[in-house]
Symmetry: C2
Subunit: 222 residues, 2 copies
DNA sequence: GCATTTATTTGCGTATGCATTAAAAAATGC
DNA sequence: GCATTTTTTAATGCATACGCAAATAAATGC
């Protein structure tokens, strides 16, 4: 049941986002404003605002007279997004390591790592993905740069749809957590350069894996 | 004379942007939607869309019932923006240096550098700033990552207003162009690590200068 | 006088209608 | 038949109207 306390245009943003992620609004599909308005049972005005917002976040594109297109992601797009994430998250890791956080401050980060271990032990990929998301967003939060937080959230959204597809195509990310622990330790021990370098390599590696996977499976768009 | 071929909401974005940069809409000031609609001689609808767009780009904030606030930038904000620029531009420099560009491809970059030299010789700060902008945006373009281009453009907008203020408070950036030339050469010679490292230091230095300047002059908001 | 309630104003969020104009369909010429 | 023009359709961009709720002012009680 939709929260009545939200404005229609806020609800429209939420609803459209989740329908994009679920695939109900498929990548590459076109939709008229009036069609979306009917779908969400509201007038065109709030959907139009929502569509502008989601457009500015790169999830869709407005093509006058042709409807809004849910943007598909090509392997090149994925590479772009991963590069942005790599640079900004590495910066966050570096900053986090300079911030003299206590272990209590880093509890959330540590917990996410433990949950990834647990998820891997149970071969629960969804749980792993969820914990991995939490690790990365917590890392960015600790970097204390609101603009980086916003950008990373935006880019993470863009890859989210793709990851649900690719996640099940690759081997269990067992080694991945070693990196996470190393980053955690570097932050805890106050080694900015180490935190930065390791996280950067971690992300670059993830990008390489993904790009290779997309190539091998001939996935042109997601 | 406003271009009649643009839609009203596009014109609204342009007009509001330029009035924000010119200071006509001052940082920290509040404006009702209807006030802006009157100012731009159009209805609230396109103004509202423009305001949503500019809001998502961080130039202003929507505060229901209080009007849209033109966002002031604190020294902390400046630091955030510079950190984003540092990371993403450095990445662009690295990528540009990996791309095997010919000298012809780099002509625009070289020209911007020469113009900065010329501007410094004439002590023409405005011309210098314009050429500096061109250098940085061309560098990013050569990095071939559309998302980075968009983000950098957005962040550059945010500091633009501040720079017009601070530009005249500091000594002529004579040494700055040495870095630019070094980055240029690293790109031309295909040395990604060098291009990245130098540009990174260059930006970090610029940030340090600016932050110090803001502190010295007790500028809390711009 | 001060606090609390009530009345009034007013800015925003949303719905709706309409003119514009791009795209699709139909009609015409060759 | 095919190309070109004309007609029709319909999606958008914008203006306008209106109800709601927040902010402010006024009124009431103490």
């Amino acid at each position: 049941m939709p929260d009545k306390s939200l404005s229609s245009s806020q609800r429209a943003v939420q609803e459209l986002r989740s329908r994009i992620f679920s695939g109900e609004l498929a990548a590459g599909s076109d939709h008229l404003e009036s069609e979306l308005a009917d779908l969400l049972e509201m007038s065109r005005t709030p959907v139009r605002e929502a569509v502008l917002t989601l457009g500015s976040q790169g999830l869709l594109e407005l093509r006058p007279r042709k409807g809004v297109r849910i943007l598909p992601l090509s392997p090149e797009d994925m590479a772009e997004v991963y590069d942005v994430l790599t640079e900004l998250e590495s910066h966050a890791a570096e900053r986090a390591a300079s911030a003299n956080y206590s272990e209590a401050d880093l509890a959330e980060l540590a917990q996410a790592i433990d949950e990834m271990d647990a998820a891997i032990a149970k071969s629960d990929l969804d749980a792993w993905a969820e914990a991995d998301d939490r690790f990365h967003s917590e890392l960015v939060r600790l970097g204390r740069n609101s603009r980086i937080e916003a950008i990373v959230a935006m880019m993470s959204d863009q890859v989210r749809r793709a990851r649900t597809t690719t996640l099940f195509m690759r081997p269990l990310p067992t080694k991945s957590n070693e990196d996470h622990r190393a980053v955690y330790q570097a932050i805890r021990d106050g080694n900015p350069d180490t935190a930065r370098t390791i996280h950067r390599k971690h992300r670059q590696h993830a990008k390489a894996i993904l790009v290779e996977l997309l190539g091998k499976h001939r996935l042109r768009y997601l």
